[in-house]
Symmetry: C2
Subunit: 281 residues, 2 copies
């Protein structure tokens, strides 16, 4: 059976999207689809245009014997703005307010469609920066870490606030919980990260900044390099903390538990992100 171009394009789209950031030699596709290398090269040209036109990301070709194609997922600025506004609208419901000034967000981080958007936004922020792993703190950071890890195609590691028997030996740091001013402990399995790993830290919520500082210290303890920190919702009062390298998708501007009244704005994401690769020229 002769596999026509159209079926090849569908299969290659699927393959590239499930293998982002992997160098795929053209002979691999030629063999997989029993097609000439010249046909596969033409397919790649078509895919490059189509991926940018559909705001799926960009495909880079590395020439030469050891070359091939690499797919970098990412969205353009217009789509990013639209995604942020969807999240902003979802998060702005005053019914989300919980005692203590927290926000109920389990439905948002449990919704696969919204999680894909969050993951793609953060992956676009760090596109091409060659991260080795995503780090997060249990429990609600996990879905965000996983979504980012999908798009960057790197593993993610879960920092725990208490030890679990199934983790094996751990490395731990103390940090000051910003909301309660208590000193707490977070720890990570020693098997989790190789020394020198480039880390992106993510979390769902930032209030006092203690968790974020703790992850920063933990990356140092593992002799890793922190590429940046991204949080979904920044609820820190403007004066309480100046956290460097933090990208925020949303920002709580007003939260009144009594009335109840909630105003959520966009964070610094659009200013922090370079979209130049993701626009069709």
């Amino acid at each position: 059976m002769k596999i026509r171009r159209s079926e090849r394009l569908v299969g290659m789209t699927h393959y590239l999207e499930t293998q982002p950031y992997r160098l795929i030699p053209l002979p691999f596709f030629a063999q997989k689809y029993q097609a000439a290398k010249s046909s596969i090269s033409e397919d790649i040209t078509i895919l490059k245009h189509a991926f940018l036109a559909n705001s799926m990301g960009y495909i880079e070709t590395l020439p030469g014997a050891g070359g091939g194609v690499i797919f970098t997922p990412g969205i353009n600025k217009a789509v990013a703005t639209q995604y942020l506004q969807i999240l902003q609208q979802k998060m702005s419901d005053p019914h989300r307010i919980l005692p203590g000034g927290y926000l109920y967000s389990s439905d948002i981080i449990g919704d696969p469609t919204l999680l894909r958007k969050i993951g793609l936004l953060i992956a676009t922020r760090y596109a091409g920066q060659k991260a080795d792993a995503i780090m997060t703190v249990a429990t609600k950071g996990i879905p965000i870490a996983q979504s980012v890890a999908y798009y960057l195609n790197v593993p993610y590691v879960i920092v725990r606030r208490e030890s679990k028997i199934t983790e094996g030996p751990t490395l731990s740091v103390n940090y000051e919980s910003g909301s309660s001013s208590r000193v707490e402990k977070m720890e990570l399995s020693k098997r989790s990260l190789p020394a020198g790993a480039k880390i992106i830290a993510v979390d769902d919520f930032m209030k006092g900044g203690g968790t974020v500082s703790g992850m920063r210290n933990l990356v140092q303890e593992f002799a890793g390099e922190l590429l940046g920190i991204s949080v979904l919702v920044d609820a820190s009062s403007s004066s309480s903390c100046h956290q460097p390298m933090v990208t925020t998708l949303l920002n709580v501007q007003q939260l009144d538990v009594q009335r109840p009244k909630l105003t959520v704005g966009l964070g610094n994401y659009l200013d922090m992100t370079d979209f130049s690769h993701f626009h069709n020229n």
Copy 2:
């Protein structure tokens, strides 16, 4: 600019794969790509063949005014067997053995490529069963739940062993921890699930079966319907529990902490799963 068929096929592949189980009317695509409905119909015919040929899943067409297409992700039996063998090989390393007869698996459930395989296997098992939500227990079940939720395009809910302030009101049940024979408590936010929801429960590890029983009770408390339970690794001794409706991907056949010696086989997955929709005829 005229958008050619090839670019349309790439965009539609991306759209369908990120919107599984959603009815998409053909006029939506016709408008999105400014193409005639007859061209879109031809595109769909091509996509149907290509999706099956690449073991991506099947596309169903619903005729009539309220009709459209629905994409159901899933793999054929050959690919499923290959995925299970990859997981089996990964899990069989005796270095995974931890004190107490547990297995280190954080690297497997933290690897996006392996997680996609786990999610796709479980989603294939329940393909077309119209689940409303995935349920899991914190912490290590979360990545698996999220991956399944992606493919079934439904939310997932996280059961906790202890209360967190940011969850709001909760419903809780007691269960006997199989490994320690202690009575423990698990709880779920009352906002998480509507009554009558069809639930798939997932977890990373089953030892005594207590966690699985606890989730079963919790589904009852929420007046939900349990479609089934899927676990990555079944390490229960054959006599200790007979859990109905449980699908297991892998099965610990021998685990000796002292030597150390570990034998992992395939679970009952292939027997429990109907692949008939995912084969090209």
